[in-house]
């Protein structure tokens, strides 16, 4: 299972990296989204993988730390997801603004590039 997760993280990173190296804002956003998927999974996996052990304390059982997966990475990923969302939203808006002010959706706003190729 660990190998599969590693594979997923790797593939997501690779696809994300390729996409952010494209010259348009939209693939850039897609690429960064893929990269944040990758990093969220990675961050999540730092608590190691566990099946069927969600960190919801059973009130009836004694206060013990065993039998639950690591909750901290989950909290971190939650924060990271939210922040990633905010950032993505901002970037998308900025892409639109760039489109409006630079005339095309190239990341560098090249003046001599047509819009719809």
């Amino acid at each position: 299972m660990e190998a599969l997760i590693s594979l997923i993280v790797g593939v997501l990173t690779a696809c994300g990296v390729y996409l952010i190296l494209r010259g348009r804002t939209f693939p850039l956003v897609l690429g960064l989204t893929l990269l944040s998927y990758a990093v969220n999974l990675f961050l999540f996996a730092t608590g190691r993988l566990a099946i069927g052990l969600p960190p919801i304390i059973d009130r009836n059982l004694a206060e013990t730390a065993s039998g639950y997966t690591d909750p901290l990475p989950q909290a971190l990923v939650l924060t990271a997801i939210v922040i990633g969302f905010a950032m993505t939203a901002f970037l998308i808006m900025l892409a639109l603004k760039a489109r409006a002010e630079l005339g095309n959706d190239h990341v560098d706003g090249r003046p001599n590039i047509g819009d719809d190729a």
Partner: protein, 89 residues
């Protein structure tokens, strides 16, 4: 027996997943893909329910509920996009 049923069911749903994914990637038209995405959401509900039974945990219910809601919103938004381009107008 229940375990066996769940395992078989998981296999079936997984196969459904795979078929849907294939349609998603294959297309050929955008509505096909959106339909596939919608179906994927429904399949995911099935998967979660099965997983809940399998792991004997009701913690997955909210996820199923949310998938039902969010899948709908996603589909509506995408269809609206195809129809009008502008989805909030």
């Amino acid at each position: 027996m229940l375990n066996l049923a769940v395992t078989i069911a998981l296999g079936l749903v997984s196969a459904a997943f795979a078929l849907t994914l294939w349609r998603l990637l294959r297309g050929p038209d955008q509505p096909d893909r959106i339909l596939a995405l919608d179906t994927l959401y429904v399949n995911a509900i099935a998967l979660l329910v099965l997983l809940g039974i399998h792991l004997d945990s009701s913690l997955y219910f909210e996820a199923a509920l949310l998938i039902a809601m969010m899948g709908f919103v996603g589909t509506v938004a995408l269809c609206k996009y195809l129809l009008r381009g502008d989805i909030i107008e």
